[in-house]
C-alpha cells in the first residue's frame, strides 16, 4: 500500500509538470505533435528511472561535496544511450526534436529527483518513484500534444480524426500556442486550487 503511494505521488499530488512546474522547456517545445511527445516521454522515462536506480545504488559511496557532478555524469550517460537509441529506431521523429532530447541531461526534474529522492532512499523505492514521476510527466505532455495536434492539424498521431471539412487552426501547432495552452492549463489549476482553499 505504501509502495503504491510512492507511484501515485508522482502521477497527481506532486506531478512534476503541473504542480511543481519545473522542467518546462521540453513540455512546451515537443507537444506540437503526438509522436514527438511519445518519443520524448520514452526518453525521459528511460533516463529518469535508470538514473534514479543507479544514484540510489551508489549513494553510500558518493561524497556529499561532489554529489551533483556525479549525478550529472550518470544522467548524461543515460541521455547519450537514449539519444543514440532513438536516433537508430525513430530517425524522423528524432530529427524533429533532437535538441530537446539532448537537453534532457539538464532537465531540472531528473536532477531534482536524484537529489531529493534517490540519494536518500533504497533502490526499490527509487525505482517506484522513477516510474511514478515518468507516468506523471508523460500523461501531461501527451495530453497537451493531443489537444494541440487535434485542433492544429485535425489528426492524432498522424491519423485523421476530424472530418474533411474541418479547418485546422494552424496556430495550435506553431510555437506560440505552446505558451498559450500551458498558460490556460496553469491558470485553471491555480484557480481551482485557490477556490478549494477558499472553501475550507
Amino acid at each position: 500500500m505504501k509502495k503504491l503511494k510512492i507511484i501515485w505521488n508522482g502521477i497527481v499530488p506532486s506531478n512534476p509538470v503541473l504542480i511543481l512546474a519545473i522542467g518546462l522547456c521540453s513540455v512546451v517545445a515537443v507537444t506540437n505533435f503526438v509522436q514527438n511527445a511519445l518519443l520524448m516521454s520514452f526518453v525521459f522515462s528511460f533516463v529518469l528511472i535508470l538514473s534514479e536506480v543507479i544514484v540510489s545504488a551508489i549513494r553510500k559511496w558518493v561524497p556529499d561535496e561532489i554529489r551533483v557532478p556525479i549525478f550529472v555524469v550518470v544522467i548524461a550517460t543515460f541521455t547519450t544511450i537514449a539519444a543514440l537509441l532513438s536516433h537508430a529506431y525513430f530517425p524522423a521523429v528524432y530529427d524533429a526534436i533532437k535538441l530537446y532530447i539532448l537537453l534532457v541531461v539538464v532537465n531540472c526534474i531528473i536532477i531534482g529527483r536524484a537529489e531529493a529522492f534517490a540519494y536518500k532512499n533504497g533502490i526499490f523505492d527509487s525505482l517506484l518513484d522513477g516510474i511514478g514521476m515518468s507516468i506523471g510527466y508523460s500523461w501531461v505532455i501527451v495530453a497537451i500534444a493531443v489537444i494541440r495536434e487535434l485542433f492544429g492539424n485535425g489528426t492524432i498521431a498522424g491519423l485523421r480524426v476530424m472530418p474533411q471539412a474541418f479547418q485546422p487552426a494552424l496556430v495550435m501547432i506553431l510555437p506560440p500556442a505552446g505558451f498559450l495552452v500551458l498558460g490556460v492549463l496553469v491558470g485553471w489549476l491555480e484557480w481551482s486550487l485557490r477556490k478549494r482553499e477558499a472553501k475550507k
Binding site: V106, A177, F179, G183, V186, W188, W191
Partner: protein, 196 residues
Amino acid sequence: MTYLTGLLKIFIASMVVNNIILMQFLGLCSYIGLTDNMSASIGMGYAVTFVTVLAAIVTWIIDHWILIPFHLQPFLQIVSFILVIGSLVGLVEIYLKKMSPNLYKAMGIYLPLIATNCLILGVTFVISMHRLDFIQSIVEAIGTALGYFMAMLILAGIRERLRNSELPEFFQGKSIAYIISGIAALAFMGFQGMIK
C-alpha cells in the same frame, strides 16, 4: 563580403527569427522565475551573455580539436559539454570574486543558476549541429544571448506594468506570464520570413 553577410544573417537569425526563448523555449525556468523583478532580469541577462560566449568558445575548441579528430563526438559530446560548462561557471565565479568584487556583486548570485540553464548547453549543441566555424559560433552565441536578454527585458517590463492593473481572477499568478509570452511569440512569428 559574402562571409560577412553570412555572419549578419546568423546574428539576425539567432537573435530574433529563432529567438531562444520565444521560438525555441530554452531557458524557461529563469525566464518565468526572474522576470517579476526588473533588476534581477538585467543581472541575469549580463551573466548569461558573458557565460554563453565563453562556453561557445571553449566547447567549439573541444569539439573540433578533441572530439571530432578522435571520432568521439556522438557518445562523449553530452558528458564532456556539461562537465566543461559546469566547471567553467565555477571558474568564472572564483575569478570574479577575486578580481572584481563589484562585477561579482552585480552578477555573482546568478552564476550558479546558469550552470544548469538549458540555454547555454542548447547553444553549444546548436553550434555543433550546424557545423559553424569559429567566428560564426561566437556570432551565434552573442546573437542568442542578446535575444535572451531582449525577451527578459520585454517580459519584465510588461510584468512590472501588470502589477498595477486588475487581472481577471483566472489569470492571476504565473498563468498571465505564459499568456503574455505566447502573444509576444506571435509577434515574433512576423520575423519568420526574413531569413531563408
